[in-house]
C-alpha cells in the first residue's frame, strides 16, 4: 500500500513539474503553416520557399486571423524551411498546410524533387492540393489578397474544392493522387492552375484551367473551357454550364449540368486503335436569353441537338489539341485499356505516347434536358 501511494504521489507531482515530456507541446506555441509557394531562387540554383503561416497573435476575439509570410532560400525544400526557421520562434507546423503552389520554372524542372518532402515526412497531409502558378512566380499568389478568407491558401483550396460542383474547370488533385497518377503509367498528370487577377481594384487569385504534364514535367496549359471538356472525357463532371446559341447570337441559352456519365471503350483492329467516348449528360434549362419560345417538343429537341453538337465538337477538339500539341495522355485512355484489356495494354504500354498521338477518337454525345426550371414560356414584353 505504501509503495502504491508513493508511486501515485510521484506520478501526480510529476504531472505538475515535468510537463515538458514526450512531444508535449502547447497549442499556442505552434506556427501553423497554411500553404507554401515554391519558386526557383534568382540564381536558379536554389529553391525559394515562401511559407504562409496563420498569425494568431493580437486581439483574439474580434479580428480574423491574418496570414504572415516567411521566405527563405535553400538547396532543398527542407533546407529552405529550416532557413526560414531562423526568423521564426519555433519550427513550422505543417499538418494544416493545404496548398502548395509551384512556379512554372519549378514545375517544368520536375515536381517530384519539389514535392518529395511533403510525402515523405509525417507532418504534412497527403491531402495537400498542388497548383501551378501561371504568374511569373508562385510567391505572388500568396501575396495577393483573399476575398472571403484572409488566408490565401485556405481560400484557394476552397475554390478548387467547390469548382468541381459548379464549374468543372479545374481538376482537384491532391498529393496522394499526384503520386498515384505518376506511378500508374496509363494516365498523365494535370494540375490546376492559379493566377492573379484584378478584382475590385486589388489583385486576387483565380483558379483557371489545368496545366499539362509529361511525366513530372510541365509542358503546357489548357484553358478553363478546354479543361471542362477534358474533365468530361475523364468522367469527373459533377456540375457546370453548357452554353450555346441557335441561329445567331440572339438565341443564347445556358444549360446546367445535373448529371453526366462518360464511358470509354476501345477497338483495336489491324494495328489501329480507336477510342469510343460515350457521353450522356442530363441538364436543365437555366437561362434562355431570347424571346423565341423553345419550350415545346421541337424547341427542346433543337436545344438538345445544338448542345450535343457543341459538346461533341469541343470534346473532340480538346482531345485533338492535346494529341497534337502535348502528346501526353491526360485523359487516362491507357488506364481504361489497361482495365478492360490487359494483354493489349501490355503490348501498347512501351510505346504509349506515340500510340496516343495517333489514336482515332469517336465521340458520341447525348444531351437530355430534364427540366426547364420555373418558367413555362419565354419572358415577353407587353403581353
Amino acid at each position: 500500500m505504501k509503495k502504491i501511494t508513493a508511486l501515485l504521489l510521484i506520478l501526480i507531482i510529476s504531472v505538475f513539474t515535468l510537463t515538458g515530456c514526450w512531444s508535449y507541446k502547447e497549442i499556442e506555441s505552434l506556427i501553423i503553416v497554411s500553404g507554401a509557394a515554391i519558386d526557383k531562387s534568382d540564381d536558379g540554383k536554389k529553391y525559394h520557399l515562401t511559407i504562409e503561416t496563420i498569425n494568431l497573435s493580437g486581439e483574439a476575439k474580434s479580428s480574423q486571423p491574418k496570414s504572415t509570410l516567411f521566405e527563405a532560400d535553400g538547396y532543398t525544400i527542407y533546407d529552405a524551411a529550416r532557413n526560414a526557421k531562423k526568423m521564426a520562434t519555433t519550427k513550422f507546423y505543417w499538418s494544416n498546410c493545404q496548398v502548395i503552389i509551384l512556379s512554372q520554372a519549378v514545375a517544368s524542372e520536375g515536381i517530384i524533387s519539389a514535392l518529395d518532402l511533403f510525402v515523405r515526412t509525417p507532418e504534412p497531409r497527403n491531402t495537400i492540393e498542388v497548383l501551378v502558378s501561371r504568374d511569373k512566380t508562385a510567391r505572388e499568389i500568396l501575396t495577393n489578397k483573399g476575398i472571403i478568407n484572409p488566408i490565401v491558401s485556405f481560400e484557394i483550396d476552397k475554390i478548387i474544392e467547390t469548382d468541381a460542383q459548379f464549374l468543372s474547370t479545374a481538376s482537384y488533385i491532391d498529393l496522394n493522387n499526384i503520386f498515384n497518377t505518376l506511378n500508374s503509367g496509363g494516365k498523365s498528370l494535370v494540375l490546376p492552375v492559379v493566377q492573379s487577377v484584378l478584382n475590385d481594384k486589388s489583385l486576387t487569385n483565380v483558379v483557371n484551367g489545368d496545366s499539362v504534364f509529361m511525366e513530372d514535367k510541365l509542358i503546357g496549359f489548357l484553358t478553363a473551357e478546354e479543361t471542362k471538356y477534358s474533365i468530361f472525357v475523364k468522367n469527373k463532371v459533377k456540375g457546370g454550364v453548357l452554353q450555346g446559341q441557335i441561329d445567331g447570337a440572339e438565341n443564347r441559352y445556358a444549360l446546367d449540368i445535373l448529371k453526366s456519365n462518360t464511358k470509354i471503350t476501345h477497338e483495336y483492329k489491324n494495328g489501329i486503335l480507336k477510342m469510343r467516348i460515350d457521353i450522356k449528360t442530363d441538364t436543365g434549362i437555366y437561362e434562355l436569353a431570347t424571346e423565341n419560345n423553345f419550350l415545346h417538343e421541337n424547341g427542346i429537341k433543337l436545344l438538345e441537338d445544338d448542345a450535343k453538337n457543341n459538346l461533341g465538337e469541343n470534346v473532340k477538339n480538346v482531345i485533338e489539341r492535346v494529341q497534337k500539341d502535348y502528346g501526353t495522355d491526360i485523359f487516362g485512355f491507357g488506364e481504361s485499356i489497361n482495365k478492360s484489356d490487359r494483354k493489349l495494354w501490355k503490348m501498347l504500354e512501351d510505346n504509349w505516347n506515340d500510340e496516343f498521338k495517333n489514336l482515332q477518337v469517336e465521340v458520341n454525345v447525348k444531351v437530355n434536358i430534364k427540366n426547364t426550371s420555373f418558367l413555362k414560356s419565354p419572358i415577353k414584353v407587353g403581353e
Binding site: 505538475f16 510537463t19 514526450w22 501553423i32 496563420i54 483574439a60 497531409r125
Partner: protein, 526 residues
C-alpha cells in the same frame, strides 16, 4: 491501486485475530453487566436498575400497587421521550391499579399480568439485563413484578419520526412519491405493503456493539439466490464495529473490492426501487436510523438505470439511458482527450478548431494540464460548497461561480475559454449519473494524468487499466460487468436500452435462482 487481487479470502490468522477481538469484546461486555442479575425482590430490582442507569435522568421508574390486592406490587421503567405516555397511562398503569380479581392459580405472576391484565399489543418475557437495557433504550416499557425474576417488555414506542416524504436525492417526474424515512419499521412496512406474499422474508439483526442498531434483511424466497444469501450472512457475521449509523458502515465492511472506487452494493431511498430489485432476486438490508436501503448484488449497469426508466415509454427511457451512458464517457474522458489533442496530437484537430483553441490559449500563463487540474478542482469546490452551504447564500455562490470563474477569469487570461467549456461539460455530464460520481471523479483524474504524460497512448493505457479493473470486480460472486459483455438479447434487455416489459422474460443472470419472470411471452396480442 484499486484493490486488484483483493478478492482473495482473508488470511486465516487474521480470522483468528477477529475471533480474539470478538471474544475480548464479549468478555468486556460480560464484565460490564456481570453481577447484575434480576432478583425476585422488587426493592433490589429498583436498586439494580438505578445502578445500571446511573447518571441517566431521563429514566422513569414508577411504582404501582393494585388497590384491591396489595400483594401485587410492581414497577415500570421507561425512558422519558421515547414512549407513548397515553399507552402507559391507560393501558398499563390503569389496569395494574384497577384490576379487581386475579385468576389466581399459583402460576407465574408475570404470565398472569401479560395474559390477563395488561393491554399492550406486543409483550415479551425476558430476564437478561442486556435485553432490558436495550428495550428501555428503544422506547419500550419494562415491567418488574414482585416475586418474579422475569420481566415483561411492553411495546410503548412513541418517539417522533420524520414523515414519509419524497427523497431529495432521487427526485423523479413520474412514479411513486414515497420515500423511506429513519424508522426501520416504517421502512420495512413500506416494502411489505408492496409484496403481499408469504415469500417475503424479513430477518432482523443487530449491528454495533454500542449502538445496537437494528437491521432487517429482506428477500423474496424462491427468487433469491441462496448462495448469495449465505455469503451475505457470512460477511455480516464478521461485522464488528461499535456502531452502524448509516448503511455505508455496513457497505464498507462487507463490500467486494474494498479499495475500488466503484460501488458494488446499491443504495436507494425509494421503496419501489428496492422492491423492484428484490423481485430480480436481490437482497435488501434496511438499517434503523437511515433512509438509505441497500441492495446486493450490484452490477455496473445499475448505475445507469433510473426508476423512471420503468415507468415511462421504453423508447424514451432507452434514449435517456443512452444519454447517461454517453454522459459517463464524456465526464470521465473529455478533459483527458482535450489534453491529448491540444498538447500532443495537434493533427487530430480540424484547422478551424486548432486556430480557435490556439487563439484562446495565447496569453494564458499556465500549461493546459495544470489549467485542467485546477479547473476540475475548482468545479468540485463549487459543487461541494453548493451542498454544504446554508441555502440562504446560494445566490452569492452562483454569482461567484458563474461570473468570476466563468467570465472574469477568461477575460483576465488566467484560464482559456475552451477549458471552461471542457470543465463545464465534464461537470454537467457528471451530474447525470450520481451513483458513479465518486468513481468518475477518480477515473477522470487517472485518465487526465495518463493523457498528460503520453497523449492518446497514455489515455488508452488508462482506459485499459479501468476496463481491466471493472472486469475484475465481483459483487457477491456476480461479475460486475454481467449483461454488458454479452450480445444475448435477454441479457442486454435492460442495459444499453430498456426493452418493453413484455420482452423482459427472464430475471438477470446469476442473481436470481428462479430466472423466469414470465411463464409465457407476454407480448400483448389485442
Amino acid at each position: 491501486m484499486f484493490g486488484f487481487g483483493k478478492k482473495k479470502k482473508i488470511p486465516v490468522n487474521k480470522d483468528k485475530e477477529n475471533n480474539k477481538e470478538n471474544s475480548k469484546d464479549k468478555q468486556k461486555k460480560d464484565n460490564k453487566t456481570e453481577g447484575f442479575a434480576i432478583s425476585e425482590s422488587i426493592e433490589e430490582n429498583i436498586d439494580l436498575i438505578k445502578e445500571v442507569f446511573s447518571d441517566n435522568d431521563t429514566l422513569v421508574v414508577r411504582k404501582i400497587e393494585n388497590k384491591n390486592d396489595s400483594s401485587i406490587k410492581c414497577f415500570i421503567v421507561y425512558t422519558d421521550g421515547l414512549v407513548n405516555n397515553q399507552i402507559i397511562n391507560d393501558n398499563i398503569i390503569r389496569p395494574l391499579q384497577m384490576t379487581e380479581r386475579f385468576n389466581d392459580d399459583d402460576s407465574d405472576i408475570i404470565e398472569v399480568l401479560m395474559t390477563q391484565v395488561l393491554q399492550a399489543n406486543e409483550t415479551k418475557k425476558i430476564s437478561q439485563i442486556d435485553e432490558i437495557i436495550e428495550a428501555i433504550s428503544y422506547g419500550d416499557t419494562v415491567l418488574f413484578a414482585d416475586g418474579s425474576a422475569k420481566v415483561l417488555v411492553l411495546n410503548t414506542k412513541g418517539f417522533v419520526l420524520r414523515a414519509v416524504t419524497e427523497p431529495e436525492s432521487e427526485k423523479i417526474l413520474r412514479g411513486p412519491r414515497e420515500g423511506f424515512s429513519e424508522g426501520i419499521l416504517t421502512n420495512v412496512s413500506m416494502i411489505r405493503r408492496r409484496v403481499r406474499t408469504k415469500d417475503l422474508k424479513m430477518k432482523f439483526m443487530v449491528f454495533g456493539e454500542r449502538t445496537k442498531t437494528k437491521a432487517c434483511i429482506l428477500y423474496i424466497d424462491g427468487i433469491v439466490n441462496k448462495n448469495i444469501l449465505n455469503e451475505l450472512m457470512r460477511r455480516l457475521d464478521k461485522f464488528n464495529m461499535d456502531s452502524a449509523l448509516d448503511v455505508n458502515y455496513l457497505i464498507e465492511m462487507i463490500k467486494d473490492s474494498p479499495y475500488s472506487p466503484f460501488k458494488t452494493i446499491g443504495e436507494s431511498e425509494r421503496p419501489d426501487v428496492i422492491v423492484g430489485k428484490m423481485l430480480e432476486g436481490r437482497i435488501a438490508i434496511v438499517l434503523d436510523g437511515t433512509p438509505c436501503v441497500i441492495t446486493l448484488p450490484y452490477l455496473f449497469v445499475e448505475s445507469f438505470q433510473s426508476t423512471e426508466d420503468y415507468y415511462v415509454n421504453y423508447y424514451y427511457s432507452t434514449f435517456t439511458r443512452l444519454l447517461r451512458i454517453v454522459g459517463f464517457f464524456v465526464t470521465t474522458m473529455v478533459p483527458a482527450l482535450y489534453i491529448a489533442m491540444a498538447n500532443f496530437h495537434h493533427e487530430m484537430l480540424p484547422t478551424p478548431l486548432l486556430m480557435s483553441i490556439s487563439m484562446a490559449r495565447s496569453g494564458v500563463p499556465f500549461p493546459t494540464v495544470i489549467e485542467a487540474f485546477v479547473m476540475i478542482v475548482i468545479f468540485q469546490i463549487l459543487a461541494e460548497t453548493g451542498i454544504r452551504m446554508p441555502s440562504g447564500i446560494g445566490q452569492a455562490l452562483s454569482i461567484v461561480g458563474a461570473l468570476v470563474v466563468g467570465q472574469a477569469a477568461v477575460e483576465a487570461k488566467l484560464v482559456s475559454a475552451p477549458m471552461i467549456i471542457i470543465i463545464a461539460i465534464t461537470g454537467i455530464t457528471g451530474l447525470i449519473i450520481p451513483r458513479l460520481a465518486s468513481a468518475s471523479l477518480i477515473i477522470r483524474f487517472v485518465l487526465l494524468s495518463f493523457a498528460a504524460f503520453l497523449g492518446f497512448y497514455g489515455f488508452m493505457f488508462g482506459v485499459i487499466i479501468v476496463l481491466i479493473h471493472l472486469l475484475n470486480i465481483r459483487s457477491f460472486g456476480v461479475p460486475y460487468l454481467t449483461d454488458v459483455t454479452t450480445a444475448n438479447f435477454q441479457d442486454v434487455k435492460d442495459t444499453f436500452f430498456r426493452a418493453p416489459w413484455w420482452k423482459m422474460i427472464t430475471r438477470p443472470k446469476f442473481i436470481a435462482e428462479d430466472s423466469i419472470r414470465m411463464k409465457t411471452d407476454g407480448a400483448p396480442k389485442p
